[in-house]
Symmetry: C2
Subunit: 310 residues, 2 copies
Amino acid sequence: MDEQRSPESPQQPSVVVVGHAARDLVLRAGSLPDAGGSAAVDERIERLGGKGANIAVGVRQLHPSAAVALVAALGDDAPGESGRREAVAAGIDVSLVARRGGTALLVDLVSGEGERRLLEHVTPESQVTTADVDAAEAALAGAHVVVLQLQQPADALVRAARIAFEGGARIVLDGAIEGDERDELLSVAEVVRADAEEASILAGVEVATRDDARRAAEGLLGRGARVVALSVPDEGDLVCWHGGERFLPHVEQRVVDPTGGGDAFVAGIVTGMLLGAEPGRIGEIASQAAGSTVQRLGGHPELSPPVEEG
Amino acid sequence: MDEQRSPESPQQPSVVVVGHAARDLVLRAGSLPDAGGSAAVDERIERLGGKGANIAVGVRQLHPSAAVALVAALGDDAPGESGRREAVAAGIDVSLVARRGGTALLVDLVSGEGERRLLEHVTPESQVTTADVDAAEAALAGAHVVVLQLQQPADALVRAARIAFEGGARIVLDGAIEGDERDELLSVAEVVRADAEEASILAGVEVATRDDARRAAEGLLGRGARVVALSVPDEGDLVCWHGGERFLPHVEQRVVDPTGGGDAFVAGIVTGMLLGAEPGRIGEIASQAAGSTVQRLGGHPELSPPVEEG
């Protein structure tokens, strides 16, 4: 037994991820057929996916001594069972993963030119409910870091945020949410991560350039967050905090498949937080994790723990 | 027990289908996403598919008292097991369905406008081999009707055709094949079915109009076939035999999904043969079966036995 991984260790950092779990079906074809036509699939990958599951797996890979629990829902079907087994094999605590209905299916069509199209069959049963959150109360209250992936029902997210905040957990938000819930969630978050489109929703200003991102980040920092990491289209990621910022340009390598890049970025943020890194270094770890994932087909991460700075 | 279905009945007509078995994944979305985009899937169907399996299921539906065996290969995986169970539930004899490797996956993308795109992941293990055919020797030799779906390796098809012919089975060819094997297969076939593109390959003349189809059919009748049924694009199906022909226009209904129409047509041909129908009536049964199937999403047939003519 690896002593570091023992769940009994009082020193073991604990992370709870609230988000979507699904089956990913990745299909790579030379080109997409025209209407009425057909095309051969050159490569097929089928495995556990969904933003919540990807983030949880990524954290375990980047920080193998962390205890990582996933609050999500997999179907009461064969894909749900194989997804559960994959999560267990990745070292995830799946005791808070509900099993009901049909497992969501996310089809990731990648054509030869590196173009990506997503076809998403998100079943209602695959969404996290307030009952799922209540069942996770002890884990959320006792966690060091709680990640809330915001493509989930607002009532469940708000309940999870309240429990985590009252328990003293450090809260990471990923994505966007509108309405009153946005203000409440922003007020308890330590870190906010959003792509450009999500940042526009969160901050209420369009984010197209690095200056736009800086303005949006300043707005979000003013609402409670201590670190804000926003994507700048085609350029990179801007990490802002009170009194500083760091820009992390996208790696100049061919992107095989952008799927999962954002999830790996969030896993990197969590890892940086657990390591006690400064915001700029957190962004660096996150950017490296995302850069690694987009070099691979599918959203499933294959990450290695970050190398400590000299 | 339904006495008609007892495999011991000497009167029970027996049919063997040699062809592809796969998992069909049908995804209906309002529209396909652009590159970089995503779209919600409105309906998902996942079940047994592949031309061979579809034909076998269709024959059982159209002629419930027939004993139908499938010579095919499903994967040694969860989709293969559920496909096998579905075939059993449909009344198919699966004792000649090999289990190995990964089950082929056929993704049928249907967009709101009734457009269809196929993405085909045909694993090498899913192709019928000469060893599969040898294992089916007794069934092929003793069958009343043998269907050879021609999108399979030529050596396996030729071996199956020889066994069936020597055993006295009536042989139906579906699709196209080139080279020497074409001539041998045509010389033993009673019925040949092909869409316009396949007919062009089989007959060596382009088939775009009804006159083209008649010329192609005459060529194929001259090579041994007694009945030839060819599609005429956008119009219907032309059934030709020595001394006659019948044109069956496509039904004037909205096509929901063309997938499986050809497979149902072949199942109708087999049923007409088992019922001792004349070629024109065989075409009618086949055309009705195809017309029914294209009104539904996915290639899986839901057919009813033909009503006898008054």
